[in-house]
């Protein structure tokens, strides 16, 4: 022993040349406590350390004995090596490391210690900072994880990952606490069965994580953080099993794919439930057979589609219904995958959009016929499913499948505006209009389609009733602010809860306190409203004063709807018919009260009394006689009186609330007892019992999806913003081109038929002078048509009696004014004096007509038209654009002759932010050689965003001071732009632009050479005027004639 000691001291003093003898002695003493071979290890390392830093070496020796107690031999070496490497980088940190090591390691479970050292040793190779950080934060990480076994596995995984990536091994540790907390929470909800064989979810997750780690380091960390996003939607053992095993199967396809699978699967399960998940997994499997790239796309797409689907037409409360939608869509998709994967995916992608305008049933048959129509043609199928083709749209809506909101949105909007005197927006449920316009009480959400009754008229009545209701909320002040009634209600509510709190205090009864805990707690926390809060108090403020806001909101919603119903009936005799009609329908859909659990039965009773005018089923009336009477009294007292206000509803809410509260307290105890019994029973006869329960649940779900239950839904519910999501799915955002010098930019709204509203400032119109071309174009036309031109000039000079007016009593003129002549004669006889104003004259009024020619310059006008298709060389055809240009030349001659004020412009577009408006001739500009050059310079490019161009032309025209304002659009076909929606969208926008122009006193007229579909043209231009030129080559000669007809 002494020998050894001596040897050690000697060795030490060799190492620590600068250290005092005392220090060395002390160190040697300490080390003496160690088994000898360890001491030698220490000295060994100390030797290499001393070459770097003396201080670190001293700290090392000081720490070594204690650390040696915590670590095995090899680990001790690793630890020391770690320190050495740190010292290489920064001696100060190494000292610090040594000094804190014992505490840090001591705080860790025994099995974790070597792992940590190991991990840090790996990390330090690449990043000393990370290693140090990992080491230092280890106790914290462990305390966050709490579970020793889990911690051991986790550090194992981190070590595994660190083989590949230091960064990701750190991330694994960072992500772990949340992920494990989620797993543990899941274990809680699942109330783990005692089966020891079954794996715990925590282990399942860790298993997966380590599988990920074995494949690719990065994904393990990301997997854990995806788990950390929560699994609270899982409610059954089998669900987590399915999720994990499916994910694990995808690992074969690579970490990234498996990770994406897990992420998407989470969303599907959350939004669609387990059955949807199963369907979706099958679809994914089918897709995967087609290749890795496509399945990855599919996986990536899924969350967005599901989120959009979940938002479509459905409100949050209808979570079950949401499952149904996603499930049904997946059914269809699965069916389609069996024939063509790509087509199935297109359909999947478009499903939210289709469902925004159609019912589930419509969607199903639409999808099937799409797959049938284009079984293999992917391009056409894409167009079909993007809802671009007309067949597709027709098929989606079906010929007589109820009434779509779209078809009557404008009508309803006028209706509601008339009723309320306010600007209102109509939006389909599930979509949200442009942010700038949205606000409380400005938007009315209506189902996008109603196909309930089998007749259009009756379907419409439902819309009408719903719209009247929405208008009623505005007219009868649901959103009133700070009225005396509301203030009174608030103080009554506050008083109620303060009283409740006092009661609880005074009883000093823990049992009671538990039951009324919420009241008690809330009333204590509640502070009185500040003056400015009172100033702005509305029903929401009042509801916020309740202990259980959710309960109060639910009651309030029903009662308020009852009040509005009553007031509507009082104020409008006629709407009663429609409300009764709808009420009848609601009554037919009521569940039998007796079959509902007590709590639900009470709501149901309230609903029936308020909305249906009384409890509809006899048994229920008997069983709940007492509470029914109480409800009836409240409703009669507060809601059914004249001019009841939202304040009355609030007070009624309070009364019902306290009634239900009491009822609940009574029943709670009973129920608990009976529930336990029931559960015992259920276990025995699980199969049949479970089934009937499921049926019941299904029945309830159906009820929830009833369009009428809108009335019982919270006025307050916010709708998820899915439209952005949809946009993202469907259209790429278009980018703005740079303006050139001299360009002017204007912004115009665009009509979105699905929103039933304009998209504000959606289009940017760039106004630019048209480029100059050769002048000989115009001269050539003049020469070619010289005969026609002279006759046109002649005709136009004679033209327009409309602009001439007979003026009587003139000094000179074309005709005698008979009255004046008689007066003259009589006057002369009686007085000898008479007026000489004896004539009638036709004089032209000031400026009367201003006309704007708007020329479609899109690339489709490059098409060549020929009369002699068989003689392409000897008699070549002409481009449409050139024919139109010739027309403009002749038109200018005519207009110059008649003297009308006119402008010529053309337009093209490249996306909504780049609508180009080329000015050829402005109003008031002379028909100069310069203008002739610009006519010559007209060419074709890009697309046709007609709506924006019309809006711009109309705005210019409105500024003209003329009695008749004409806008003549020369077009060769339908409006189209790459981000101009489907053809229907473009058409509706164009129609709307034309309609607006018309209301602003402009007469639009379209000359078109599109012969393809008269019906479509009629739809587009029918409200204004239009003419189709069949023989395109005759356009130039015909234009002046058309103009003449229009202006006479």
């Amino acid at each position: 022993m002494p020998e050894e000691k001596k040897g050690l001291t000697g060795a030490l003093s060799d190492q620590l040349k600068g250290a005092t003898r005392g220090t060395i002695e002390a160190l040697a003493m300490k080390m003496g406590v160690l088994p000898s071979e360890r001491a030698w290890v220490a000295v060994d390392i100390g030797a290499s350390l001393a070459a770097i830093s003396l201080k670190a070496t001293v700290d090392f020796f000081k720490a070594a004995p204690e650390v040696a107690r915590l670590l095995e031999n090899g680990d001790l070496r690793n630890w020391a090596e770690l320190g050495r490497r740190i010292a290489l980088n920064n001696a100060e940190e190494a000292s610090e490391f040594f000094r804190s090591s014992a505490d840090t390691l001591g705080a860790l479970p025994v099995r974790v210690r070597p792992l940590l050292v190991n991990l840090c040793a790996r990390q330090i190779v690449l990043s000393p900072a990370s290693a140090l950080a990992t080491f230092r934060s280890a106790p914290q990480t462990i305390s966050a994880i709490t579970d020793e076994a889990a911690a051991v596995r986790l550090f194992g995984i981190a070590v595994e990952v660190a083989h590949r990536s230091v960064k990701h091994s750190t991330e694994v540790l960072n992500a772990a606490p949340r992920a494990l907390a989620v797993a543990r929470a899941l274990e809680q909800t699942l109330r783990l069965d005692p089966d020891p064989q079954a794996k715990r979810p925590l282990d399942q997750i860790l298993d997966l994580a380590s599988q990920f780690a074995e494949r690719t380091g990065a994904t393990a960390a990301e997997f854990l953080s995806a788990v950390g996003d929560g699994l609270e939607f899982i409610s059954e053992r089998a669900e987590i099993d399915a999720l994990c095993s499916a994910t694990s199967a995808y690992l074969e396809r690579g970490g990234a794919t498996a990770l994406q699978f897990f992420r998407s699967a989470r969303v599907v399960m959350e939004l669609g439930g387990r059955t949807s998940f199963e369907k979706w997994s099958r679809v994914a499997r089918n897709v995967a057979n087609e290749g890795n790239a496509i399945v990855y796309d599919f996986l990536k797409l899924t969350p967005r589609v599901c989120a959009a689907l979940a938002a479509t037409r459905l409100r949050r409360r209808e979570a079950d219904r949401r499952h149904e939608v996603i499930g049904s869509v997946l059914d269809v998709i699965e069916e389609l995958t069996t024939s063509n994967i790509y087509i199935a995916l297109e359909c999947f992608k478009s499903s939210p959009r289709a469902l925004a305008v159609a019912s589930l049933e419509q969607f199903q048959s639409w999808a099937r016929s799409g797959a049938m129509l284009h079984p293999q043609d992917r391009r056409r199928a894409t167009a079909y499913f993007a809802l671009e083709s007309r067949t597709s749209q027709e098929s989606l809506r079906g010929a007589n499948d109820g009434v779509t909101l779209e078809s009557i949105a404008h009508l309803l909007r006028l209706y509601v505006e008339a009723l309320t005197g306010r600007e209102m927006l109509i939006a389909p449920i599930g979509s949200i209009p442009d942010e700038s316009r949205i606000g409380d009480g400005h938007t009315i959400y209506l189902p996008s389609v109603v196909a309930e009754f089998g007749s259009t008229e009756e379907d419409f009545r439902l819309y009408k009733a719903l719209a009247a209701h929405a208008a009623g909320q505005i007219e009868f002040g649901t959103r009133e602010i700070a009225t005396p009634d509301i203030r009174a209600a608030i103080s009554e509510i506050d008083a109620f809860f303060i009283e409740k709190a006092r009661e609880v205090d005074s009883r000093n009864d823990p049992e009671f306190a538990i039951h009324s805990e919420q009241h008690y707690l809330r009333a204590r926390q509640l502070r009185p409203l500040a003056a400015e809060e009172l100033e702005a108090a509305d029903y929401r403020t009042a509801l916020g004063r309740f202990a259980n806001i959710g309960l109060a909101t639910r009651i309030f919603t029903t009662l308020e709807n009852g009040r509005i119903d009553h007031r509507l009936r009082q104020a409008y005799r006629g709407i009663r018919r429609d409300l009764d009609f709808v009420r009848k329908r609601i009554i037919e859909h009521r569940p039998p009260v007796m079959e509902l659990p007590v709590e639900q039965a009470i709501y149901e009773l309230l609903f029936q009394i308020t909305i249906c005018g009384g409890v509809v089923d006899d048994k229920g009336r008997w069983a709940y006689a007492e509470i029914i009477r109480a409800f009836e009294n409240i409703i009669a007292d507060y809601l059914r009186r004249d001019a009841s206000s939202v304040g009355d509803t609030l007070i009624a809410t309070l009364k019902v609330y306290s009634l239900i509260g009491e009822q609940k307290q009574q029943k709670d105890a009973e129920q608990e007892a009976s529930q336990q019994e029931q559960e015992a029973d259920e276990e025995q006869s699980e199969n049949d019992e479970g089934e009937s329960r499921q049926q019941k649940r299904a029945a309830q779900q159906q009820r929830a999806s009833d369009p009428f239950t809108q009335w019982s839904q919270s006025v307050e519910e916010t709708l998820p913003s899915d439209s952005e999501m949809l946009n993202e799915l469907m259209n790429a955002e278009s980018s703005e081109q740079e303006l050139q010098e001299g360009d002017l930019a204007f912004f115009y709204d665009e009509w979105d038929r699905e929103l039933g509203d304009h998209r504000a400032k959606w289009c940017r119109v760039i106004q630019r002078e048209n480029r100059r071309g050769p002048r000989d174009f115009v001269e050539g036309v003049r020469a070619r048509y010289s005969g026609i031109i002279s006759s046109i000039r002649h005709q136009f000079q004679m033209l327009k009696p409309e602009s001439l007016r007979r003026v009587k009593g003139e000094l000179d003129g074309e005709d005698f004014d008979l009255e004046a002549v008689i007066d003259h004669h009589v006057d002369k006889r009686s007085t000898g004096r008479a007026s000489d104003r004896l004539y009638v004259r036709r004089i032209r009024r000031e400026r009367e007509v201003a006309v704007s020619f708007l020329l479609d310059m899109s690339s489709s006008t490059a098409r060549t038209i020929t009369r002699h298709p068989n003689q392409p060389y000897t008699r070549p055809g002409q481009k449409i654009i050139d024919i139109e240009k010739q027309g403009l030349v002749l038109m200018s001659e005519a207009l110059e002759a008649v003297g009308d004020s006119y402008s010529i412009s053309g337009f093209t577009s490249e996306g909504r932010r780049n609508v180009k408006y080329f000015v050829v001739k402005q109003f008031g500009e002379k028909y100069s050689p310069e203008v002739e050059r610009r006519i010559g310079g007209i060419t074709y490019h890009n697309n046709t965003r007609l709506g924006a161009a019309i809006r711009h032309a109309a705005t210019e025209l409105e500024r003209q001071d003329a009695r008749t304002k004409l806008l003549i659009v020369l077009s060769d076909g339908r409006p189209y732009d790459h981000d101009y929606g489907d053809s229907r969208y473009a058409r509706e926008d164009t129609k709307m632009a034309l309609r607006q122009a018309k209301t602003n006193g402009i007469t639009p007229f379209c000359i078109t050479i599109d012969r393809e579909s008269e019906a479509e043209l009629k739809d587009l231009y029918g409200e204004v005027g239009y003419t189709i030129i069949d023989d395109v080559l005759s356009l130039p000669e015909r234009m002046p004639g058309i103009y003449r007809r229009l202006t006479t």
Binding site: L411, L414, E417, A418, L419, A468, I822, V826, T831, D961
Partner: protein, 278 residues
């Protein structure tokens, strides 16, 4: 031709008698328009009545004429109305030429109230004719007879003007506008309008109230496609049809939705309003 032109000009009280209002017209006062009008009359100031069509301007003038005990000479202005038409002319009777006062001259001579309805429709040179009558000179030159009539104190000039149609072409010149006091008219408030409709058509008040409610709602659509709201006059028409046994919804369509617009969608929405109310 307006009626007065073909009647013989018998100077004296008989001619003016037919302009006298025998029976008290029913007019429900809305605010203080009575008082303002009376004061204007006693202060010898001309008055301009502004307001949408069919809201009671003509009826008001009739009521005031009755109240003030003055005859009321009404001229509906139009594009061809000449100065001669207003002032008067010589007419042949057998071999004689006899002077006939125009309506304006008649009114001035007899200290009546002269009401030029829709004055913007008249030719500009005709409008100028009233300028000397509407300032403190209060004179009417009858050029053909070389006469200069000065208006008696009781004479009063009233014009009506509907700013709703405003177009650049049809606007009163400032030099004309600024010669008149102005009384603003609008559709009567619901209560008053209900009374008016009930009384004018002889229907019960509940029905009248519904009609007025329809009117109110439809007026909300002004600017959303409607140029003007539905007038009290049309509501009275609808009520009259109902009083004669026409089905109320049909009556409203005939008297309300169809007259005020040609736009099919607007008509439909107004119909829905009608069936909501009745």
């Amino acid at each position: 031709m307006t009626q007065p032109l073909s009647s013989p000009a018998i100077p004296g009280d008989q001619a003016i008698e037919k302009y006298r209002i025998k029976k008290e017209p029913y007019y429900l006062s809305i605010k203080n328009e009575h008082a303002l009008f009376e004061t204007a009359h006693s202060a010898k100031l001309p008055v301009m009545l502004k307001g949408p069509t069919g809201c009671g301007k003509t009826r008001f003038v009739e009521a005031m004429a009755y109240k003030l005990g003055r005859p009321l000479v009404t001229v509906a202005c139009h594009e061809d109305l000449s100065a001669t038409d207003l002032v008067g002319r010589y007419l042949l009777e057998g071999d004689d030429t006899i002077w006939h006062d125009g309506p304006l001259t008649t009114a001035v001579r007899h200290g009546a109230i002269c009401y030029l309805d829709e004055v913007v429709e008249a030719r500009k040179d005709t409008i100028v004719l009233i300028h000397p009558l509407t300032d403190d000179r209060r004179i009417l030159p009858v050029e053909k007879r070389g006469e200069l009539l000065s208006a008696p104190d009781d004479f009063m000039l009233v014009i009506s003007y509907n700013p709703g149609y405003q177009s650049v072409l049809k606007d009163l010149k400032q030099s004309t506008r600024q010669r008149f006091l102005s009384i603003e008219f609008d559709y009567p408030p619901a209560e008053a309008e209900t009374q008016i409709v009930a009384r004018e058509a002889g229907i019960d008040e509940a029905m009248a109230r519904d009609l007025v409610k329809i009117g109110e709602k439809v007026r909300n659509l002004k600017g959303h496609g409607l140029e003007e709201g539905v007038s009290t006059r049309l509501l009275v028409y609808a009520a009259q049809l109902i009083a004669r046994g026409v089905n109320p919804v049909a009556a409203c369509e005939a008297a309300i939705s169809s007259p005020i617009t040609d736009d099919a969608e607007l008509q439909r929405s107004i119909r829905e309003i009608i069936t909501t109310v009745i």
